[in-house]
């Protein structure tokens, strides 16, 4: 799992690469969460994400809850598998996916 960060003012973009599985989901969540102070817009770029486990979904759910308080969050470049997952778990209903 690799995590790349691009920051521009109150906007923050994370590029996630590899798998968000049970073993690393919590670390990813913490790594992103640590950067969120004062951020108004969070963008998660899932271009190179192979898959995301339910633990990874939890992380995204928590991030979404937090960002709703302080701004907005969107997920971009979602591949088919991940999109299926978002759909089947109902995440598409509250997430902004582009």
């Amino acid at each position: 799992m690799k995590l790349k960060k691009v920051k521009s003012g109150t906007g923050l973009r994370f590029i996630l690469e590899g798998r968000i599985d049970t073993t690393n989901a919590a670390d990813v969540g913490m790594a992103i969460n640590d950067e969120l102070d004062g951020i108004k817009e969070l963008i998660l770029d899932l271009k190179d994400l192979e898959y995301i486990s339910s633990m990874g979904l939890r992380v995204i759910l928590e991030l979404q809850k937090r960002m709703k308080e302080q701004g907005k969050m969107k997920v971009v470049n979602v591949n088919d598998t991940v999109m299926d997952i978002f759909r089947m778990t109902g995440f598409t209903k509250f997430m902004t996916i582009e």
Binding site: S53, K65, K68, G90
Partner: protein, 772 residues
């Protein structure tokens, strides 16, 4: 209370003093009794003496009165003129001569001297002005015939007595004193009474005499006449006793009571010692001496001695006490203080006692002891430090040794052709056994077990170098005999200590299960197939390190699917129990036979070990115990089975291993991703919720078929059917979404079929993915 030496010695001394005092008091009492007897005897002598004096006095009176009768009779017969003046002159001469009596006279019967004269008497007595003649009796008024003494004497004479004494009376004529009178009759030749002669003894005179002989102030003396039973004189404590005079002796109370006890009586609460002495004329001298007074002197003396005794005892006790304090207590206290200091760890404390000698000796022994102790402690500390250092080093060495052996299982989780498990327990801190395994190329897997001769650090070092050499010389393409030959030569090169190695080394070809091996003096391995369990009759070569020119020969055996080869060191077969019995090859073989190597290699290995442990029990393990089991799983490219500990860190092993198979079978990427997600969800779910123990396993199996992919998970955890799990509600808005329940939802959505069953206390979950 009597715990200290001091109190014991003091008590002991007091007991001795008590005994001595008892003896002394006994002796005192003896001497007291003796003294008392002496005193009594002395008083007896005194009274005898004084009674003699009295006797003499009485005798004098009586002699004198007899003389006077002769005088009177002579006067009577002197002629007819019988002048009164002649009689008077005679009396005058007599009393001038006789100093004994106060007075006396000659009294004639009526009309015997002169026919016309009724009264004829003459009386003389001593006064301050010399001897006076008194004729006062010769008239009717003072008629001597009427006097008591005259009558009494005459009565006595009538009985034939020649001398008699009157009762006391007061002389109203001459001396006017209280007196008694001794008398003697005057007779004619025909024994007709002519008259009487008298001498008087004034009682005052007697009392003075009695007073003179009285032994003490409170003593009293009674002088009595037994003939008439009357008391003549008394001297008693302040009373002159006149009231007693003339009374019968029986009127004296104490005299009566004294008759009951011969030498003692009680009168008015006072004890008296009693003496009496009869005199010649039936008079008696009685004396009572108060016991206290009489014994005062002796008592004084005795009391003084008792006082001296008590004082000596106290003084002696004090001296002993002081001596004990100075010679025993002080040194002991001193030593105690010093010993306590030593006890607290100050070994530099010195005892300095010069005397008494015993304590000086003891203190020098003590000093010697502390010196020795100090010496010993410093040596011990040094030794201990060195020992600790060695121990620490050995512990580090052990850790290094242990970590040098591959000890993470499964070591190649992604390889599904075989399963391997091994352990080593060292008897000493570091051991001479080792096992090892590694791939020399993709398909050739080297595994070996070895036992270095000797034990401890040298063996461990030799083991390390052997292990390193083995790794260095094992190159791809090498056959096992080539490797062992090279190893032997390397060992021989540097083997100055003459250590040697037994080794069993095999190379598994993972493609077909063929093992080529060399056994250099090692125990034969056990082969366990589905049908039988037996010792491999491997050709046994000579040990390594003995001869550098030996050529080792290899053997070969083919393992079929699920067959296992078990290697061990002689620490297992030669382990002994408390009865010194060997565990032996039979028991080992039986334990391997009974263990389930097919299903779970690790658990089966533990079973073999536990069998051994239950045999040896508490007895100390003499040698290293090393064990290695290798199971061939076959080379199936469509199947893969992984047995992993319930730890999430193995998730990636599982994912990578199964992904390899999927890739080999050219499975579509989208399906692979789905399979991965399902593996992730299920495996992590089992790890989290199945409540497995550390030694339990999760068995994951992948089967790639023509039209489907089957994923099976087996665990021995608590019953859990994921199908019964309620799905998360995916229609809830963000704020109400819970974190759980998504995993199972995803598994359900991504797979095409899920089956759960509970069998043999195990959860078996089978998931199918269709291949379009």
């Amino acid at each position: 209370m009597l715990k200290t030496i001091k109190s014991r010695i003091i008590v002991f001394t007091l007991i001795i003093l008590f005994i001595l005092s008892g003896a002394s008091i006994f002796l005192l009492k003896l001497s007291y009794e003796h003294n008392k007897e002496l005193e009594i005897r002395a008083l007896g002598f005194a009274i005898s003496y004084y009674s003699e004096v009295l006797n003499k006095r009485i005798g004098q009176f009586e002699e004198n009165v007899v003389d006077m009768t002769i005088m009177g009779e002579t006067f009577y017969y002197s002629g007819s003129d019988r002048k009164k003046s002649t009689l008077e002159a005679l009396l005058y001469e007599n009393f001038k001569k006789d100093q004994t009596s106060q007075g006396g006279g000659i009294f004639f019967e009526p009309y015997v001297v002169k026919k016309n004269q009724k009264f004829f008497s003459s009386y003389a007595y001593e006064s301050d002005n010399g001897v006076l003649i008194d004729n006062g009796f010769n008239n009717e008024v003072h008629s001597y015939f009427k006097k008591s003494w005259y009558k009494e004497l005459k009565e006595e004479f009538a009985k034939g007595k020649m001398v008699a004494w009157s009762t006391p009376y007061v002389d109203d004529v001459g001396t006017k004193s209280l007196m008694i009178t001794a008398g003697s009759p005057l007779y004619t030749y025909k024994h007709e009474l002519l008259g009487i002669a008298t001498t008087d003894w004034v009682l005052d005179d007697i009392i003075i005499f009695l007073k003179a002989i009285k032994p003490g102030e409170n003593s009293f003396i009674v002088f009595a006449d037994l003939t008439h039973d009357f008391i003549i004189a008394v001297d008693k404590n302040g009373i002159d006793g006149k009231s007693y005079i003339g009374k019968p002796l029986s009127s004296v109370e104490w005299y009566n009571s004294s008759l009951k006890n011969e030498d003692e009586f009680i009168y008015q609460d006072t004890a008296y010692i009693f003496f009496d002495k009869k005199l010649e004329n039936n008079m008696i001298l009685i004396m009572g001496v108060p016991r206290n007074e009489f014994l005062r002197e002796i008592n004084h003396r005795t009391n003084y001695m008792i006082l001296m005794l008590i004082f000596s005892c106290l003084f002696l006790t004090l001296i002993i006490y002081i001596a004990l304090y100075v010679y025993v207590n002080k040194p002991i206290d001193y030593m105690k203080r010093k010993a306590e200091e030593i006890g607290k760890g100050s070994l530099n404390v010195k005892m300095e006692i010069k005397s008494p000698k015993e304590f000086a000796d003891l203190s020098s022994s003590f000093n010697q002891m502390t010196d020795n102790l100090k010496d010993y402690i410093s040596k011990a500390e040094k030794a201990n430090y060195e020992k600790e250092q060695i121990e620490t080093e050995l512990k580090i060495a052990k850790t290094i040794q242990e970590s040098s052996l591959p000890n993470v299982f499964p070591p190649y989780p992604e390889r599904c052709e075989f399963d391997i498990y091994a352990f080593m327990e060292t008897a000493h801190d570091v051991g001479g056994d080792f096992y090892d395994f590694f791939f020399i190329d993709e398909f050739h897997f080297v595994f070996l077990i070895a036992d270095i001769s000797g034990k401890g650090a040298p063996a461990a070092l030799f083991m390390m170098s052997t292990k390193t050499m083995m790794e260095n010389i094992s190159h791809a393409g090498y056959s096992v005999d080539k490797i062992i030959n090279t190893l032997n030569q390397e060992i021989c090169k540097n083997n100055k200590q003459g250590l040697f190695v037994t080794i069993f080394c095999g190379i598994l070809d993972t493609r077909d299960g063929i093992i080529s091996y060399v056994n250099a003096g090692h125990n034969p391995p056990i082969i366990k197939t589905q049908k039988e369990t037996y010792y491999l009759e491997a050709e046994s070569n000579v040990i390594l390190g003995a001869f550098d020119d030996v050529m080792y020969k290899k053997g070969e055996i083919k393992l079929n699917k699920d067959d296992a080869i078990i290697l061990y060191t002689d620490g297992m077969t030669e382990a002994t129990n408390s009865d010194k019995e060997f565990y032996g090859e039979e028991k080992l073989l039986a334990s391997v036979k009974n263990a389930d190597f097919k299903n779970n290699l690790k658990r089966a290995s533990f079973e073999v070990k536990n069998k051994l442990k239950s045999f040896t029990r508490e007895s100390e393990v003499a040698d290293d115990i090393t064990f290695l089991a290798l199971k061939y799983l076959g080379n199936d490219t469509k199947r893969r089975k992984l047995i992993l500990p319930p730890d999430i860190k193995y998730l990636n092993v599982l994912l990578n291993s199964f992904e390899t198979i999927l890739l080999r079978n050219r499975t579509e990427k989208s399906i692979t991703e789905k399979v991965n997600i399902v593996i992730d969800e299920i495996f992590s779910n089992i790890v989290k919720y199945a409540q497995l123990k550390e030694e339990d396993d999760i068995i994951s199996e992948l089967k790639v078929g023509k039209n489907e992919i089957i994923l099976t998970f087996t665990d021995s955890g608590i019953p859990y059917d994921p199908l019964k799990h309620e799905d998360a509600d995916i229609d809830l808005p963000l704020e109400e979404r819970e974190l759980g329940g998504l995993g199972i939802l995803m598994v359900k959505n991504m797979s095409d079929e899920i089956r759960y069953k509970r069998e043999d206390d195990r959860n078996i979950l089978q998931i199918k993915f269709r291949i379009p």
